[in-house]
């Protein structure tokens, strides 16, 4: 990030120097320097209109076709979203497109985004690769408009014009358009980024088990708001803290993003006294040595913001940003916002962190966002009646593992009574700690039409594993079966927020929205099913109408023949991925 920004600047300085020297005799030399610096500053402060205005001034006194001027013009055009214009501007003065140069970035971006489709809402332009990513658009735009409104309320700022949001196929494309290296992305699990005056996210289809992509979009948007409002003066720890803390505002209250598993991780680090100091979070949390360190840092700054927000409300956060914009240090800004010295704040924050109700250790490892390209050894969680023994690999309690394994063996033989008993034995030993076990147990109970028990198991599992799409799907089936359309809709939307490419989710939403009489959203969900399966809309409606009608269908979902054909062509994780990435890291541009 820094590399890609600083090196071109130095280069530009070297180039601009002679040009300006050449005009040293002219009275505009000093003015040109001033405008040049103004453009730079505006760009650094995420102020693209300001940069444009300063450049116009510069162009009036410096030759428009000089290399520095064209380079600056290219950068501005790029941040405005005119990639071809940017390429044209820069390539007219240089052919150097080695890795790390702006020209390479512009060309790569144009290549990646060139064939994109786009949809616009009032304040956003959502650009996505042609194909099934189209189904993301309506949900994304809805969430983005919601977070915009919330940030306007909370932070008192919203970017001018329409914000560009770009979806890329995978981590390699993300590397091309973000200036992060592929290795950095892989190591830190970076899945989205706010940079160049836009939001970029990786399609959930590239992630083995999906990830909470809607929260991630909101998260990146908050980075944009904070950067613009503070003129990019907020240090990284506060930046991440605010984004993490506020990312759930699009769907409700702030502070809802802390997952039990991350909390458990934080508890472990508190106990081991291995928290990450604030200063180590520079220059970016995403660049911490391990994904666990990054997750710990996120959790720490989350509680720092939680503490400020808890006492001063959103006004406290606004004060922090305003003070920083005015030139205060982070310590001074926090002190001003909280009304106490920074050491005092640190002590209070640590006390606040330690007072959290940390859950017990989880059997499953910390959920990481694992890219498909890097997770060949990872078995995607099997759906419905599919059998998977590897699901219990990480059960620490060996006795529970034994019973879970027996349960799976019996389930494979369709001996559901016995299987349920075995799962029950395992479940009684580990409780709700193991989401896959809870889901298998619940599925078996569903096979036996023991719906209340299954529901209880699933709901309890969600308290510890709220981001498990599969749990939401199973719960949603029960709600559909019982005709509780609101609950069913909520459950499937939760699943969709992590794994949007599961046809069952959209088909079930068709059913739920239809039950609620929401024709507009029914049509939206129907379109998604059509997109994912290639099924005729009439057949979608007919298939959806059958959902939840029979007890035996509760434990599994089968597409009609035509749907199955299309789904078979989709990557397995799309239709089956379940476990949410509890903590996808993002890499905002400070």
């Amino acid at each position: 990030m820094m590399r890609t920004r600083v090196i071109p600047l130095l280069m530009l300085g070297l180039l601009v120097g002679p040009v300006i020297d050449a005009r040293a005799q002219s009275p505009g030399r000093a003015a040109a320097r001033e405008h040049f610096t103004a453009v730079e500053k505006a760009l650094d402060a995420w102020d693209v209109p300001g940069a444009r205005a300063a450049w116009e001034e510069l162009a009036r006194i410096a030759p428009r076709d000089s290399e520095p001027v064209r380079q600056l013009e290219g950068r501005i055009l790029f941040e405005e979203g005119d990639y071809q214009g940017a390429i044209q501007a820069v390539s007219s003065v240089t052919d150097d497109d080695r890795p790390g140069t702006y020209l390479r970035l512009f060309r790569d971006t144009a290549k990646v985004v060139g064939a994109h489709r786009s949809v616009e809402s009032e304040h956003f332009i959502f650009s996505y690769p042609e194909g099934k990513d189209a189904i993301l658009a309506p949900y994304a735009l809805e969430a983005l408009e919601a977070i915009r409104k919330a940030m306007l309320e909370d932070l008192g700022h919203a970017p001018e014009g329409k914000v560009r949001v770009e979806v890329v196929h995978d981590a390699r494309d993300l590397a091309k358009v973000s200036t992060l290296t592929y290795e950095q992305i892989k190591t830190t699990g970076t899945i989205a980024i706010c940079k160049f005056n836009k939001l970029i996210i990786t399609s959930p289809k590239a992630v083995v088990r999906g990830y909470d992509w809607l929260d991630t979009l909101a998260h990146e948007y908050i980075h944009l708001v904070v950067s613009q409002k503070s003129r990019n003066t907020v240090p990284i720890w506060l930046h991440e803290g605010m984004a993490k803390y506020l990312e759930t505002r699009w769907r409700g209250e702030a502070g809802g993003a802390m997952s039990p598993s991350t909390l458990a991780l934080l508890g472990r680090r508190v106990k081991a006294d291995t928290l990450i100091p604030f200063e180590k979070m520079h220059p970016s949390i995403a660049l911490l040595p391990t994904a666990e360190d990054a997750a710990t840092a996120f959790a720490e700054v989350f509680f720092a913001i939680d503490w400020i927000h808890g006492r001063k409300g959103p006004a406290g956060l606004r004060t922090v940003m305003e003070k920083l914009r005015e030139g205060a240090t982070d310590r001074q800004a926090v002190a001003a916002a909280t009304g106490r010295s920074f050491p005092s704040f640190e002590r209070a924050w640590l006390q606040h962190v330690r007072s959290q109700p940390f859950p017990e250790l989880f059997d499953e490892p910390e959920q990481e966002v694992r890219l498909k390209a890097e997770a060949k050894d990872e078995e995607p969680e099997k759906k419905g009646r599919q059998i998977s023994y590897g699901a219990f690999r990480d059960l620490r309690d060996k006795e529970a593992q034994k019973h879970a394994h027996l349960g799976e063996l019996l389930r494979e033989r369709r001996r559901m009574g016995a299987a349920a008993e075995q799962y029950g034995k395992a479940y009684r030993r580990v409780g709700d700690r193991h989401a896959a076990l809870s889901n298998k147990y619940a599925l078996t109970l569903l096979e036996l039409s023991r719906l209340d028990e299954a529901r209880e198991v699933l709901e309890k599992s969600l308290t510890l594993h709220p981001g498990m799409p599969q749990t939401h799907v199973h719960l949603g089936r029960i709600h559909l079966h019982r005709g509780d359309w609101n609950a069913a809709r909520d459950a499937f939307l939760q699943a969709l927020a992590v794994n949007p490419f599961d046809p069952e989710v959209h088909l079930s939403l068709v059913r739920a929205y239809d039950g609620l009489g929401d024709a507009k959203r029914t049509a939206r969900a129907t379109a998604a099913v059509v997109q994912l399966t290639g099924l005729e809309p009439e057949r979608v409606v007919a298939a959806a109408a059958q959902l939840g009608k029979q007890d035996r269908a509760l434990a599994d979902f089968e597409l009609p023949e035509a749907e199955r054909r299309d789904a078979a062509g989709a990557p397995s994780g799309d239709a089956q991925g379940t476990a949410a990435g509890e903590q996808p890291s993002s890499a905002p541009t400070p």
Partner: protein, 1034 residues
């Protein structure tokens, strides 16, 4: 225009009807005649065809008869029956009256009235009225359809009969078309006589003498038959010489054989002779001709029958239809071949796998029509790969020189090269199937009502079916375990695991089943199932479920491990294939030639095929591994043949380009990849199951260490005891012998009494618990008796101790049965029987104790010859032995604890360790009693038990040092031993000769000698042998 004739009008109606009916009747009769005639004629024609060959004279007659029959039948129907059935108009009128009831007899009346009207003179009736009647009848008759009057059924029957005949004819034609056609030809030929020529078919010759000169290949000598009619019967190619006398003077004569004419020599105007070669079946006739050659007489047809020369028949008597062979096996083929006249060649014909052409091996041939042969077929020369199948048969060729040799072949049989890998896979599949059944049993138990305390009694009793299935499964497990234990190349742990599972699950299933039987009796008595009974059943089933869970998981882990081993073995096979290819290329590099390069290229292609096949099998195998900790997808990735396939492509291309060094380098790279894969397999195999059974793995390793320590300590203690024993070796043999002789007869009598009583015990009343004790007691009594006979009081004392112990066990069992009778409310008569049985067993036990006490009293007081320091040392040894006993008991407890986790050990192993501890206890007891001799014997016994245990563990593949799952131990072992690989070696176990002063081992040794003595010897050596044995056992 003339007025209409009233009479004609009046008559027209019924007259027309009568005529129409009559005409129809006649038509039908002619038609029926034609149909029946055709049927008859066709039948005669068929008969002619069928009989013409058998009765040549009859054929033409029948042929002529056919049209005659047709004509006769036609005329019979048309004329004779026509006349009879159609008759006069009055007859027709009566027929109309029968068939048309509305007209009744009116038509007949009308005819009569018409006659009356036509008659001159008054008729005594009113003509007007008569005419009116005629008009009326005429009008009504006009409305009647003549077809309804004439019965069509006979015509229909005729049509049906003819159709039937046609069908029959078609069948006949299909079945014996040739015979019919030939017959008709013969008949036609016979009937074609030149017009105007007189035919004389009476015999015109007499005393026909035939001399047959058979073809050489038949090996028959010439034969002359005199005084015949002239019919000939001989194989084709036979020369028939014929002589006869004519019934008249003739100038020329000959034989008419089909189209051919064979002239005969005529001597004296009457003697005829000549010859011809029999070629095909048919007939011939004597023909006389005048001087101009005109036929003047022809004799009847005489038959020529040709004896068929069939194809040879070959039967393969050995080996069996499908035989599995080892690489070096020589297969003994036994076969039998036969032919009518003789064989000219015999061959073994086989086809190797993948070859389209057959290979032929000439077999030795004997003269004669039938031979039995043997051939030793060296299959090593076939260079078969494991699993290759060779089809073969024996082909025999006859010596038919006339029509050419014919061949016959035996049944095609199969030789299959023994494939150890397949055997292992099959065994594994069988174990996996049983594992699945065990899983089903577990499910049945879990889903049953047995643990539901509120379940209906009927639901609980319905669990009897599951009990039955469980019992059957346990039996099958034992059977398969036994089969696998004896089978060649089957991993021993599979058999051991099945056996141990049968033990552990079996005992639980039995307990559940037995208790359900009690519940059944309670319900039969009308009592309900109370809470305690339900609770107890629930407990038993829960215990069974827990055991089955452990057994399933353990067995599954073993199956997975076995699959991993198979994967590794396949990987090694791949590596071997690569090595052989590399050697081939190296040879080629050193001596390059085009043919060699082409051969190497073919080997690359073959290797690639084998690699693909192996990869496919490996992939299938890996899919079946359910271990959570094995990363199946990563394994699949590892085995992806894509890389290897492309590397082989490159090797192939390099070879084609003549770049041998580069090809070798590429192969080296491939080899490294394969070795890496193998290492991964080995690591996975080593650790497989360890994560599933961490506690078991740890406990097992601890057990191994402690066992090792115990063995070492026991060995040391035994050595020290032995040293003490040596010092007190002075024995008072003669005194014991004297005392023993005095008591011997009485003791023998008591032993006989107990033996007899045991033989007469009601076997049906003894259960699984009592029978082993009874068998052991009987065996010990037999040993006691034989030892007494041999005056070996030492052995007798020990055997009597065993007899007494087992007799006491039987006594306790009897007592227990009495108590059970009371608990289960058994009928009084059953209780009485049990009481009597228990009392008998008690008496027998008392007698056995008396025998043992008497024999024990023969020996001097132990320790009486030891010094004070030796006695002190003995006490120390006793203490140490007691401590060691506690350690052994600890080992036994460890076994029990491990058994709770998984069926690693069978009951025999548990007993074995228990016995070791017991013997240590006994050794301690003897040492405390200053009896070094017996103490040492028990120590040796304990040591042997421990060492045997260790050895069994090693044989089962334990102690490899890996972290993997402990392999099961089957202490019972296989009665028939094991064979592995393709070799058939003898046992390499060392035979240890017992020390004459040892207590325990000589006892067993002497017992064996006594057994050997009983087997007898040749008469002249008997006395010598007896003396030898006596010397040995002294």
């Amino acid at each position: 225009m003339p007025p209409p004739n009233p009479v004609a009008d009046e008559q027209g109606g019924f007259r027309a009807l009568i005529e129409a009916v009559r005409s129809r009747q006649r038509q039908q009769l002619w038609l029926r005649g034609a149909l029946w005639g055709a049927l008859g004629a066709w039948a005669v024609l068929l008969l002619a065809g069928l009989l013409a060959e058998l009765r040549p004279g009859l054929g033409p007659v029948l042929l002529w008869l056919a049209p005659a029959v047709f004509l006769a039948v036609l005329l019979a129907f048309g004329l004779w029956l026509g006349r009879r059935q159609v008759g006069t108009p009055e007859r027709t009128a009566r027929l109309i009256a029968r068939r048309a009831p509305k007209l009744g007899l009116d038509v007949l009346s009308a005819i009569e009235l018409e006659h009356a009207l036509a008659a001159p003179g008054p008729g005594g009736f009113s003509p007007e009225l008569a005419r009116a009647f005629l008009r009326d009848t005429g009008a009504r008759a006009a409305r009647v359809d003549p077809a309804t009057i004439v019965d069509g059924a006979p015509l229909k029957r005729a049509v049906q009969a003819l159709a039937g005949m046609l069908v029959l004819s078609l069948v006949l034609l299909a079945v014996s078309r040739e015979r019919l056609v030939t017959g008709w030809r013969v008949a036609l030929a016979s009937s074609e006589t030149p017009a105007g020529e007189p035919i004389r078919r009476e015999p015109i010759t007499g005393d026909v003498e035939l001399t047959y000169r058979y073809p050489d290949h038949t090996g028959w000598v010439p034969r002359t038959v005199s005084g015949t009619r002239g019919d000939i019967q001989a194989p084709a190619g036979t020369v028939v010489e014929l002589s006869s006398r004519s019934d008249r003077p003739v100038e020329r004569a000959g034989l008419s054989i089909g189209e051919a004419f064979v002239p005969l020599r005529v001597e004296d105007g009457r003697s005829l002779s000549g010859s011809f070669v029999v070629e095909r079946a048919g007939s011939y006739a004597f023909v006389f001709q005048d001087a101009s050659g005109k036929e003047v007489a022809r004799g009847p047809d005489l038959t020529i029958s040709v004896e068929a020369d069939g194809a040879p028949e070959v039967t393969l008597r050995a080996p069996e239809e499908e035989l599995e062979v080892d690489p070096e096996d020589v297969v003994e083929l036994r076969f039998e071949a036969r032919d009518d006249f003789g064989l000219s060649a015999l061959q073994l014909v086989y086809r190797l796998p993948g070859r389209s052409e057959e290979t032929r091996v000439k077999l030795p041939l004997e003269d004669g029509r039938r031979m039995e042969g043997r051939y030793s077929w060296d299959t090593a020369k076939l260079l078969l790969a494991p699993g290759d199948r060779v089809t073969y048969y024996i082909e025999a060729t006859d010596n038919d020189a006339v029509r050419g040799p014919k061949t016959g072949v035996s049944r095609t049989q199969v030789l299959e090269r023994y494939d150890a890998s397949r055997k292992r896979r099959e065994a594994l599949a069988r174990v996996e199937q049983l594992w699945g059944e065990l899983l089903e049993l577990l499910a049945d138990r879990m889903e049953s009502a047995d643990r539901d305390h509120n379940a209906e009694s009927s639901a609980i009793l319905a669990g009897r079916r599951v009990d039955g299935r469980g019992t059957l499964l346990v039996t099958t497990l034992r059977e398969v375990a036994s089969e696998l234990a004896d089978a060649r190349d089957v991993p021993p742990e599979l058999a051991a695991a099945l056996n141990n599972v049968a033990d552990s699950t079996g005992s639980r299933v039995r307990a559940t089943s037995d208790f359900r039987s009690v519940l059944e009796r309670v319900v039969d008595r009308g009592s309900g199932l109370n809470r305690d009974l339900r609770r107890r059943l629930g407990e038993l089933v829960s215990e069974e479920i827990a055991t089955e869970e452990n057994d399933i998981l353990y067995l599954e882990a073993l199956i997975d491990r076995r699959k991993m081993e198979e994967l590794r073995a396949m990987g090694e096979q791949l590596l071997q294939e690569r090595r052989s290819l590399a050697s081939r290329i190296e040879e080629l590099r050193n001596a390059p030639d085009e043919a060699g390069r082409e051969a190497a290229l073919q080997e690359v292609q073959a290797l690639r095929r084998r690699i693909q096949e192996l990869m496919h099998r490996m992939s299938e195998l890996a899919k079946g591994i359910r271990d959570e900790h094995l990363n199946a997808e990563a394994l699949q990735e590892l085995m992806s043949e894509g890389d290897m396939g492309s590397m082989l492509d490159e090797v192939e291309q390099l070879l084609r380009d003549g770049k041998m060094d580069e090809a070798l380098a590429k192969l080296q790279e491939l080899g490294m990849q394969m070795e890496e894969m193998l290492q991964d397999f080995e690591r996975a195999e080593e650790n497989l199951g360890a994560e599933q059974f961490p506690e078991l793995t740890e406990a097992f390793m601890r057990f191994q260490e402690e066992l090792q320590e115990t063995v070492a300590t026991q060995e040391q203690l035994a050595k020290q005891t032995r040293a003490l024993q040596d010092q007190a070796s002075a024995q008072d043999r003669s005194r014991i012998a004297q005392k023993g002789a005095a008591a011997r007869d009485a003791l023998l009598e008591k032993v006989e009494r107990i033996t007899r009583d045991y033989q007469e015990l009601p076997g049906e009343r003894l259960d699984r618990q009592a029978l082993p004790s009874l068998e052991r007691a009987q065996e010990a009594l037999r040993a006691t008796r034989e030892a007494l006979d041999a005056k070996d009081y030492d052995l007798a004392a020990e055997a009597s101790r065993q007899a007494a112990e087992n007799a006491e066990a039987l006594q306790r069992w009897g007592q227990l049965q009495r108590e059970r009778d009371a608990i289960f409310f058994n009928p009084p008569d059953a209780q009485e029987e049990t009481r009597q049985l228990a009392e008998r067993l008690e008496r027998d036990a008392q007698l056995a104790r008396e025998v043992h006490d008497a024999l024990s009293s023969l020996f001097p007081e132990p320790g009486s010859q030891l010094s004070a320091s030796e006695k002190q040392r003995m006490e120390q040894l006793a203490k140490q032995q007691r401590e060691l006993q506690q350690k052994a008991e600890g080992l036994s407890e460890q076994l029990q604890a491990m058994q709770q986790m998984a069926p690693v050990f069978d009951q025999e192993a548990m007993n074995q360790m228990g016995q070791v501890a017991q013997r240590m206890g006994q050794a301690g007891e003897h040492l405390e009693g200053q009896d070094a001799r017996r103490g040492h014997g028990e120590q040796r016994g304990a040591l042997e038990g421990l060492e045997r245990f260790q050895q069994q563990m090693q044989q089962q593949g334990q102690g490899k040092g890996g972290r993997g799952i402990p392999l099961p131990l089957m202490a019972g072992g296989s009665p028939n031993g094991r064979r592995e690989g393709n070799g058939r070696g003898v046992s390499q176990d060392q035979v240890e000769l017992p020390d004459p002063d040892d207590f325990e081992s000589p006892q067993a040794f002497r017992k064996e000698l006594l057994d050997a003595m009983k087997q007898g010897a040749p008469d002249r050596y008997r006395e010598q042998l007896k003396r030898y044995y006596e010397e040995l056992v002294r």
